[in-house]
C-alpha cells in the first residue's frame, strides 16, 4: 500500500491516520507479550522497570518441584493423553465422514464440532455435573476426557480440510493391487494427510495445555495444571516467578507457531503440486 504521488491533502491525512492506528494496533498486540519477558530476569521482586539487576532467581523458583514443576507434570500428562486420544478419534471420524455417503452426515459433523460453539463455561458445567454423578470429578481421567471433548473439533476440522484435497484414486489403486483397507490407510492415506493430522494434534495439545475453565470445575488439588496454577497465582499472589513461567510459555508458543506455519506451508506446496 502506497500513497499515489498526486494524493490530495485529505488522502494524506487518511493515510497517516491509518498508519498510526495500525502502529498502535500492532504495538498493542505484541507489546505486552514482549515487555514482560525481561522482567522475568529481574533480580528484584517488583514487576516494573527499571530492573534492579539481572538474575535467574525466578527461574530457580520455577524449577522447584512445588508448585510449578508439579503443575507442569500434570499439564503434560493430561495434554499428551488428550492429544493421543483426540487425534486418533478425530482422524478416524474425519476419515469416515469423507470416505462415503451415509444419512445425517452434515448433522453428525455439526455435532462433532459443536464443543467449539458452546461457551467453555457451559461445557465445563455440563461436564462437572456429569462427572459428579459418575465419580470422575477430581481425577486425571476426568480431566483428560473433558479436554478431549474440547480438543477433538480441531482435529476433525483440520483432518477433514486436508482430506478435501485428497485423491481417493490412490486408495482405489492400492486396494486394486490387493492391499487390505487397513494397510491402504496406513501406507497410502495416512502419510499423505499427515500434515493435517499433525496440525490437528498440535491444536489439540495447545487446547489442553491452555485450558483453565474446565480444570477449575472438574479437577482437584492432585490435578492442578499449569494454567490453573497461573490462575491461582495471579489471583492470590503475584510474583515474578509467574512472569518466568509466562516467558517459558511464550517461547513455547513461538515454537508452535513456527511448526504450524511450516506444516501449512508444506501442505499448501503439496496440494499445489498435486493440482498441476
Amino acid at each position: 500500500m502506497a500513497l499515489p504521488v498526486n494524493a490530495t491533502r485529505g488522502q494524506h491525512v487518511w493515510y497517516w491516520c491509518l498508519r498510526v492506528i495500525c502502529a498502535f494496533g500492532f504495538l498493542f498486540l505484541v507489546g505486552p507479550i514482549v515487555v514482560i519477558v525481561p522482567i522475568s530476569f529481574s533480580s528484584g521482586s517488583f514487576l516494573s522497570y527499571p530492573l534492579p539487576g539481572l538474575s535467574l532467581r525466578w527461574y530457580e523458583t520455577v524449577v522447584e518441584p512445588f508448585p510449578w514443576m508439579f503443575a507442569l507434570e500434570n499439564s503434560l500428562i493430561v495434554a499428551v493423553a488428550t492429544t493421543l486420544i483426540a487425534t486418533t478419534l478425530g482422524t478416524l471420524a474425519a476419515y469416515g465422514l469423507t470416505r462415503a455417503h451415509f444419512p445425517g452426515k452434515p448433522l453428525i459433523f455439526g455435532l462433532l464440532i459443536s464443543p467449539l460453539a458452546v461457551p467453555v463455561v457451559i461445557s465445563a458445567l455440563g461436564l462437572y455435573f456429569f462427572f459428579a454423578r459418575v465419580g470422575l470429578v477430581q481425577t486425571h481421567a476426568g480431566l483428560i476426557i473433558a479436554h478431549v471433548v474440547l480438543a477433538v473439533p480441531f482435529v476433525v476440522i483440520t483432518v477433514s480440510a486436508t482430506l478435501k484435497g485428497f485423491d481417493w484414486n490412490l486408495v482405489r489403486a492400492a486396494e486394486s493391487l490387493g492391499a487390505p483397507p487397513l494397510s491402504a490407510f496406513f501406507q497410502v492415506t495416512l502419510p499423505l494427510i499427515a500434515p493435517g493430522v499433525l496440525a490437528g494434534a498440535v491444536f489439540a495439545f495447545v487446547t489442553s495445555l491452555d485450558e483453565v475453565i474446565v480444570a477449575l470445575f472438574v479437577s482437584g488439588p492432585a490435578q492442578i495444571t499449569l494454567p490453573r496454577q497461573l490462575f491461582t497465582g495471579l489471583r492470590d499472589q503475584l510474583d515474578p516467578s509467574i512472569v518466568a513461567i509466562a516467558t517459558i510459555l511464550i517461547l513455547f508458543s513461538l515454537a508452535l507457531l513456527a511448526v504450524v506455519e511450516l506444516l501449512q506451508w508444506r501442505n499448501a506446496r503439496h496440494r499445489s503440486r498435486g493440482d498441476t
Binding site: 492506528i21 498493542f28 515487555v35 470416505r99 462415503a100 451415509f102 467453555v120 457451559i122 483453565v212 475453565i213
Partner: protein, 409 residues
C-alpha cells in the same frame, strides 16, 4: 447386455456401496458416541437440572405431599404441623435436614437457620397439638409466607431458577411477578455481559479493520511479518496474556510508569480491577479473531478496484464505502459475530482483571456451581447464556457460507 446380468451387477454394486457406507459410519461411531455421552448429553441435562427440585420432597416427603395439596390461602392444618415436626425430628437426627433447609433458604433468607434452630429444640415437643408447640418454638411457624415457601419448594419440579435468571418469581397464587430488589441482579449481569461484549467488539473493529487492510495490501514480505505479529498473541496462552496485562496495568506497573514519565498524567491511573482493564485485556485477546477472517476476505479483493473507482472520479471515502467495504462485509460480519460470541462467554479475564462490578454471566455460573453448590441456578443461567449465543449462531453460519472460509495462517 442382458437384463439379468445387469441387475446382478447393480445389486452387487449397491451392496458394496452400502457396505462402504456402513464401515465409514463405524469409523465415525466411536467419536460420535463419545460426544453424545460426554458432551451433548450433559449439556441437555442442564435443562433438566434447571427445573429439577427434589431436595425437600426427599427429606420431608409427607410435608411436601400435604403442602402440595394445600391451597395456600390460610395457614395449613394440624396435619401439616405434625408432619413438619416429625420430619424435622428424624431429619435432624440423621443429619439430612440441612439439605432441605438450604433449599428453603433460596425462598426466604433466614429459613435455613430457622429450620436448624427448630431441629435443635425439637426434643421439647412431646405431643400434640403440634401447631401451638411449633409456633411456641419459633413464632415464624405461624407466618403464612414461610408455609408458602415450603409449598414452593415441595417439588419435584420448579420454574423458580429459570424465572429467577430473568429476575422474575412465581407468587404463591401462581402468578409471575418481578422478584424483590435484593434478588433482581441477574438481568443486570446479562445486560452487562452484552454491554461489555459490544464495546469490546467496537474497539476490535476500530483497530482491527485498518490492521487487516494494511496486512492485505502490503507487499508479500511485509504482510507475512505483520501476520506473524497477529498470530503470535493468537497462539499465546490466554493466561499468559492476562498475566501480562495484570503486570502492565498495576498502579506501579509499566503503563502507569510510562504515562507518568511522559507527563501525560500527574498521578497513576487506576487501570486494573475495573472496567477499563477488562476492556483493554479483552480487546487484546479477541483482536486476532477479527483481524484473521477479515484479512482472509480482504486478500481476495483486487486493490485495482479502488484505483479504478478513483480514476472514474469517485472521492476516496465514496470509493471506499461503495467499492471496498461491501466486498469485505462477509469477513467483517463473520469476525464480528465470532468476537461477540466469544466475548459473551468470557470468564477468566474479567475474574482476574475486573472488579466486583465487572463480572459477566460466566462468573455467576462458576460461582453457583463451584462455590454455593446451587445446581439449579447455575443451570438456569447457563441456559440463558447458551440461548444468547445460539441466537447469534445462524447469523454467523450464514455469513461464513456467504463469504470465503478463513484458514489460520
Amino acid at each position: 447386455m442382458t437384463a439379468p446380468a445387469g441387475s446382478n451387477l447393480e445389486v452387487k454394486l449397491r451392496r458394496a456401496q452400502r457396505r462402504r457406507s456402513f464401515t465409514s459410519f463405524l469409523l465415525v461411531a466411536p467419536l460420535l458416541l463419545f460426544i453424545l455421552v460426554v458432551f451433548a448429553g450433559p449439556i441437555l441435562s442442564l435443562l433438566y437440572f434447571s427445573i429439577d427440585d427434589p431436595k425437600l420432597a426427599e427429606v420431608m416427603p409427607r410435608t411436601a405431599k400435604i403442602v402440595t395439596a394445600w391451597d395456600g390461602a390460610e395457614l395449613p392444618g394440624e396435619d401439616a404441623y405434625a408432619a413438619v415436626v416429625e420430619e424435622i425430628r428424624t431429619g435432624y437426627a440423621n443429619r439430612t435436614v440441612a439439605a432441605a433447609a438450604m433449599r428453603l433458604n433460596y425462598e426466604i433468607s433466614g429459613f435455613r437457620s430457622m429450620v436448624m434452630r427448630t431441629g435443635r429444640k425439637i426434643r421439647r415437643i412431646t405431643g400434640p397439638p403440634y401447631r401451638d408447640a411449633l409456633i411456641g418454638l419459633d413464632e415464624r411457624w405461624g407466618d403464612i409466607t414461610y408455609w408458602r415457601a415450603i409449598k414452593a419448594s415441595a417439588g419435584p419440579y420448579t420454574t423458580r431458577y429459570l424465572l429467577a435468571a430473568v429476575d422474575l418469581e412465581r407468587r404463591w397464587d401462581g402468578s409471575v411477578a418481578k422478584a424483590p430488589p435484593e434478588r433482581t441482579i441477574y438481568v443486570e449481569y446479562l445486560q452487562r455481559t452484552f454491554w461489555i461484549s459490544f464495546w469490546v467488539l467496537a474497539c476490535c473493529i476500530l483497530i482491527g479493520y485498518p490492521m487487516a487492510y494494511l496486512i492485505a495490501t502490503s507487499g508479500r514480505r511485509t504482510s507475512r511479518i505483520l501476520l506473524a505479529l497477529v498470530l503470535l498473541p493468537f497462539w499465546t496462552s490466554l493466561l499468559v496474556r492476562t498475566a501480562a496485562w495484570v503486570v502492565l496495568l498495576q498502579n506501579k506497573g509499566i503503563v502507569n510508569d510510562f504515562l507518568l514519565l511522559a507527563g501525560i498524567v500527574d498521578e497513576p491511573l487506576t487501570l486494573i480491577f475495573n472496567r477499563t482493564g477488562v476492556y483493554i485485556a479483552m480487546v487484546h485477546i479477541l483482536l486476532p479473531f477479527l483481524v484473521l477472517p477479515l484479512y482472509a476476505v480482504m486478500r481476495n479483493v483486487p486493490p485495482d478496484q479502488l484505483r479504478a473507482a478513483a480514476s472514474l472520479g469517485a472521492r476516496p471515502v465514496a470509493a471506499f464505502l461503495s467499492v471496498y467495504l461491501p466486498q469485505t462485509l462477509p469477513g467483517l460480519g463473520a469476525g464480528c459475530i465470532l468476537v461477540f460470541i466469544l466475548s459473551l462467554g468470557f470468564y477468566i479475564t474479567p475474574a482476574l482483571i475486573g472488579g466486583a462490578s465487572d463480572q459477566m454471566l460466566s462468573y455467576l455460573i462458576a460461582e453457583f456451581a463451584t462455590r454455593t453448590g446451587n445446581w439449579g441456578m447455575a443451570s438456569a443461567i447457563a441456559i440463558l447464556l447458551l440461548l444468547s449465543v445460539a441466537a447469534l449462531y445462524p447469523v454467523y453460519r450464514g455469513l461464513v457460507r456467504g463469504g470465503t472460509g478463513f484458514r489460520f495462517g
